[in-house]
Amino acid sequence: MESFFIGFAVFVVLLFGASLYRIAAGPTIFDRTIGAGLIGTNAVLMLVLIGVMYNRVDMFVDLALTYALLNFIGVVALAKYFERRREDER
């Protein structure tokens, strides 16, 4: 079961690469923001996975909860901030 968790963590890290490509190459600022949000959601999974691997889930799950809330607030704040920008500034 331990090696299964390590393999799954490697798989999630590979998914970070896809989001990083979208952040680097996205045509609009919203593509980059949604890539960052995807990385945040995957980081919540990574935190709980790391907690399971080190047998300290009780500590890491609090970090995951906080990170999920902060990720939501960050994405909504970026959406509100970029909404009024005109097209030539993008």
């Binding site: 959601t41 709980v48 996975l49 995951a64 909504v76």
Partner: protein
């Protein structure tokens, strides 16, 4: 409990993979937000549910399930807010036959 955890996590991993492929391959911002908003939410919920099933029934599993609830509420809301901002800012909508910008 182990087989249930593995089953849930593998099913969630398939959804996460589909979501990331959609983020890479789909033609415009709205399609990409569609892939992220739905597939990523379900995949995260399945993976976290599998981890809770591996952990057993205690307070930590309850907190993991609370994280599942938070993701279930916040992830589609954040995607919707971003999509609304993009639509109001005038991001062009891809139509069939247009050139695909990747």
């Amino acid at each position: 409990m182990n087989w249930l955890a593995m089953l849930l996590m593998i099913a969630g991993g398939v959804f996460l993979l589909v979501s990331s492929i959609g983020l890479l391959r789909l033609p415009d911002f709205y399609c990409r937000a569609h892939a992220v908003g739905k597939a990523e939410t379900l995949g995260s919920m399945l993976v976290l549910g599998g981890l809770a099933a591996h952990n057993g029934a205690d307070l930590t599993s309850f907190k993991i399930l609370l994280t599942v609830g938070i993701i279930f509420i916040t992830n589609p809301t954040a995607t919707h807010a971003l999509m609304r901002a993009a639509f109001r800012s005038g991001v062009t909508i891809w139509k069939k036959g247009d050139a695909v910008k990747r």
